[in-house]
């Protein structure tokens, strides 16, 4: 408990940077995810995330330098390539979008596994660096990497805030935006690039499989609390930050389960589980649309209608 307090009060400088970067990333992801969700593109991030695995491997092959920045650049490039491929299939065939997305998710991930196995088989190629990308490991991040993630997150948040009005129009009244001559296609493109950026930046801490949760769960929770885009962005950001901080803290502090050989509590899944708990609480407790308040209203309404209720 004392350990948890020490961690949450950020007394340790390296923990402070790592937590700040994870929280910053979660904030950026929550804001971009809110926009993506309103544009009904919630799962695009999942395809990008899975496509980033082969991207990391290609970067590993191509570049002699294996710093995080280079690997993430590879991931970003392949993420964009994946989105472009999906858009092309959508544009030129009658194929269903959901099928294309599912195939892209799985196929690119398969390619990533193929390439990473080939890296593993190379003399001197050890995959230790790559395995971390599957489930993430924020707790052991290097300070310089944390600054990189923080910088990307800051940039994304700045862009979202600067284009807030345009994105609002795009999400809620696209036809009107077209009518008054807003470049909606370019805005959609910017949004997709932002999705790719936060997804890739989230890989080191949350991992390929679960990073989409940062894009989806906080906005879904925020939707219970808010009625305007501004408040949704703010609430989503707050929920994202809380999930990141609590999740990272728990995974660092909880004693490893008795006899566990691995690293104990994996960071990425703990962040996601925290977000899921916050989501369920939001769903239950939200003041206007919450499940509890709805049930109570319904109950009261029924009681008022029934003769016994009115007599009492």
């Amino acid at each position: 408990m004392a350990e948890l307090l020490r961690l949450l009060s950020l007394q340790d400088s390296s923990t402070r940077v790592v937590m700040l970067s994870t929280a910053g990333l979660a904030i950026a992801a929550a804001m971009v995810g809110s926009l993506a969700m309103l544009r009904r593109r919630a799962l695009v991030g999942d395809a990008v995330a899975h496509a980033s695995l082969p991207g990391i491997c290609v970067a590993w092959f191509v570049a002699g330098d294996r710093s995080l920045a280079v690997l993430l650049l590879g991931a970003f490039v392949l993420g964009l390539a994946c989105m472009a491929t999906m858009a092309l299939v959508q544009r030129f065939t009658k194929a269903r979008e959901d099928a294309t997305t599912a195939i892209a998710i799985s196929g690119f991930f398969g390619l990533g596994i193929v390439l990473s196995r080939m890296i593993q088989n190379q003399p001197g190629g050890n995959r230790a660096g790559l395995d971390g990308f599957l489930f993430g490991k924020a707790a052991s991040a290097v300070t310089s990497d944390a600054w990189l993630v923080l910088a990307v997150a800051g940039m994304v948040v700045a862009i979202v805030l600067a284009l807030r009005k345009e994105f609002g129009l795009l999400c809620f009244d696209r036809d009107f935006a077209v009518g008054i001559g807003r470049p909606v296609h370019r805005l959609d493109g910017v949004l997709l690039v932002l999705v790719a950026l936060v997804t890739v930046a989230g890989l080191p801490s949350v991992g390929v499989v679960l990073v989409v949760a940062l894009l989806v769960i906080p906005p879904a929770a925020a939707r219970c609390w808010s009625a305007s885009l501004g408040s949704m962005l703010a609430v989503a950001a707050a929920i994202g930050a809380m999930s990141a901080i609590i999740g990272t803290g728990l995974s660092a502090v909880l004693p490893p389960p008795s006899g566990a050989v691995g690293g104990g509590w994996p960071t990425g899944p703990m962040i996601v589980l925290t977000a899921a708990v916050l989501f369920v609480l939001s769903l239950l407790l939200a003041p206007e649309r919450g499940v509890l308040i709805t049930m109570w209203r319904r109950h009261r309404g029924r009681a008022a209608d029934s003769p016994i209720g009115s007599a009492g």
Binding site: A95, D98, T101, I103, L111, L210, S258, A260, A276
Partner: protein
């Protein structure tokens, strides 16, 4: 010393053939069930279920302490059906669209599964990494005795799954077809749309689990969705689509396995890659063919266009 009576080692060993057969069985079984997902626009639900079964598998493992297939099958089927329910409930109560509701559900359940597995790590054997990409290469080392022959356990289970899939599909073909294309009409004919949906979800979850050990939870999505979606690009008719999907599924499994053998890399990963390549290639060919036909018909329309008659003026 070389003994001439021993034949030279064949290109594919017995183990290789069994592994390939297992991959084909997994691919065809998943591909046939997946056709119905594709037709119902539920491909992403297949993706979600294949992720979400993890806590069911981990739970069964934690409770029984063994890797017996049956408890895992039960656990995963329950969680798979729960995924379909939870995500549709979230869509209603949380007012988020279907994709987002699925995203929330499967990431949460998957995270829960990973954490449960790391708790079970002391019993080793169950590694979150393998859960993602499977252990197709180890299939031949775990055999059962079937009618006197040593058959890989995974192949036996997958064969049974395939037979059950086909029997159920033939038996309920009318119901599946009606509910996939026009649920409202099917309901008016007295088909229990909800029950059919539930059965399909159960079948997806069960197939996922059986294929899971061999190919992992993410790559099984390619096996579920790619054959049906690829076949759908080529044909508009249901029965040819099913046959074509089965053929594509088998072909992708074989091509992927051989390519992986050649490059000495992950077979499951290669099968998923090949499935995507096949899908993208088909999309390219079909759209090019469509463009060609359109321009051809435009050209012939120009050629056969009635010429303006000069005496009209």
């Amino acid at each position: 010393m070389i003994d001439p009576s021993i034949p030279p080692e064949p290109w594919l060993s017995n183990d290789d053939l069994w592994t390939m057969a297992t991959a084909v069985l997994a691919s065809v079984a998943c591909g046939l069930v997946g056709c119905w997902l594709v037709l119902r626009r539920l491909s992403l639900l297949g993706d979600a279920i294949s992720h979400a079964v993890l806590p069911g598998i981990a739970g069964a493992f934690l409770l029984t302490g063994t890797r017996d297939v049956l408890p895992m099958l039960a656990g995963a089927t329950v969680i798979g059906i729960a995924t379909a329910f939870i995500s549709s409930a979230l869509g209603r109560f949380g007012r988020v669209d279907r994709d987002a509701a699925l995203g929330v559900t499967f990431t949460s359940l998957f995270a829960l599964g990973v954490v449960m597995m790391s708790l079970a790590a002391r019993q080793v054997d169950l590694d979150p990494g393998c859960v993602l990409y499977g252990l197709l290469e180890f299939v031949p080392f775990d055999t059962v005795d079937l009618l006197g022959a040593q058959v890989p356990r995974a192949a036996a289970w997958l064969g049974a799954a395939l037979v059950i899939d086909v029997v159920l599909m033939v038996a309920f073909f009318k119901e599946l077809r009606a509910t996939s294309f026009d649920p409202a009409h099917a309901a008016s004919l007295g088909v229990r749309v909800g029950i059919v949906h539930l059965g399909l979800m159960a079948a997806v979850a069960a197939n996922t689990v059986v294929a899971f050990e061999a190919v992992g939870s993410i790559l099984v999505v390619a096996m579920l969705v790619a054959p049906g979606a690829t076949a759908r690009l080529w044909t508009d008719r249901l029965v040819p689509m099913l046959w074509l999907a089965a053929a594509i599924a088998a072909a992708m499994a074989i091509v992927g396995y051989l390519a992986a053998l050649e490059l000495n890399t992950s077979a499951a990963g290669m099968i998923a890659t090949m499935s995507m390549v096949g899908y993208l290639g088909s999309a390219g060919i079909v759209s090019a063919r469509g463009a060609l036909r359109r321009s051809a018909s435009r050209a012939s329309a120009v050629l056969t266009m009635p010429q303006p008659r000069s005496d009209r003026r």
